[in-house]
Amino acid sequence: MGNNMKVNVDEIRTILNLLLDKLKESKGNIIVLNNDYYWNIWDNELYNPNKKPEGLTLGQLSSDLDDLNMLYQSQAEDATIYDLKKMSEILKALSHENPIAF
């Protein structure tokens, strides 16, 4: 179990590249998202299996995409670690909305 909790950044980067390559091959380079609002569970509840989350809020994929677009324009000059969360929301939506892409 211990080793499974270690994240190798280089490996993750490689895997992401491979997965996105497969997605692009299957669905093309431009993929329209069909959802916008999504439920968000904050960190203090997200990783606590002992308590059902109560503090749900609504994120917006369109807003996350806007922020990532600005990051792209600025070459991630002002990136924060929170941008990884926004990226993860987009990746999650791509997965949910294209369940049989590959």
Partner: protein, 173 residues
């Protein structure tokens, strides 16, 4: 924009950022921060030594500070004065913040400003962001208002998260 490429590119940039940023030896808390990011109004905090700042704080005088991160930094210093110059300042009055930490604070500060603007825009006209008609087609006004409130809560918590992260950096966490 080519969306898949765009996502790939951003991911790479983010992962590079995670791989470890360069640090530099101690940077003066005031002149370093002020000159690089203009946190403090010229001629105020920038010119003060830690002991002068302690006197400043003891008298309850708040220097003119240009933004929230600067204020957070100052408040951290004020706390440090009471706590013996721990946290953001070392015992010798020199900042323990690295160059990458200062950059992180600057980026978080920009995130706060961006999200405050986003929040104001949403509060002003939530329908403008109703890309898929969830608000327009809500079963009733109570649900419509609940969606709006929950979205506003989300943006508020994001802003608080950025502020807390600045404080964590200043506290040396």
């Amino acid at each position: 924009m080519k969306k898949t490429f765009f996502i790939l590119y951003i991911l790479n940039l983010l992962l590079v950022s995670c791989s470890g940023a360069a640090t530099i030896p101690r940077v003066n808390a005031f002149s370093g921060v002020s000159s690089q990011w203009g946190w403090f109004t010229k001629g105020t905090v920038q010119a003060l030594s830690p002991s002068e700042l302690a006197d400043f704080a003891a008298e309850g005088i708040t220097p003119s500070i240009t933004n929230a991160a600067g204020k957070a930094a100052y408040m951290g210093v004020v706390d440090d004065v009471a706590g013996g110059l721990g946290g953001a300042l070392g015992a010798d009055g020199i900042s323990k913040l690295t160059k990458s930490q200062l950059k992180s604070i600057s980026s978080l500060e920009k995130q706060i400003a961006k999200h405050q603007s986003k929040l104001a825009d949403y509060i002003n006209d939530p329908m403008k962001f109703d890309n898929q008609g969830h608000l327009l087609n809500a079963p009733n006004d109570a649900i419509r208002q609940k969606i709006i409130e929950t979205r506003i809560n989300h943006l508020n918590i994001e802003i608080q998260t950025f502020q807390q992260n600045i404080q964590k950096i200043l506290n040396g966490q």
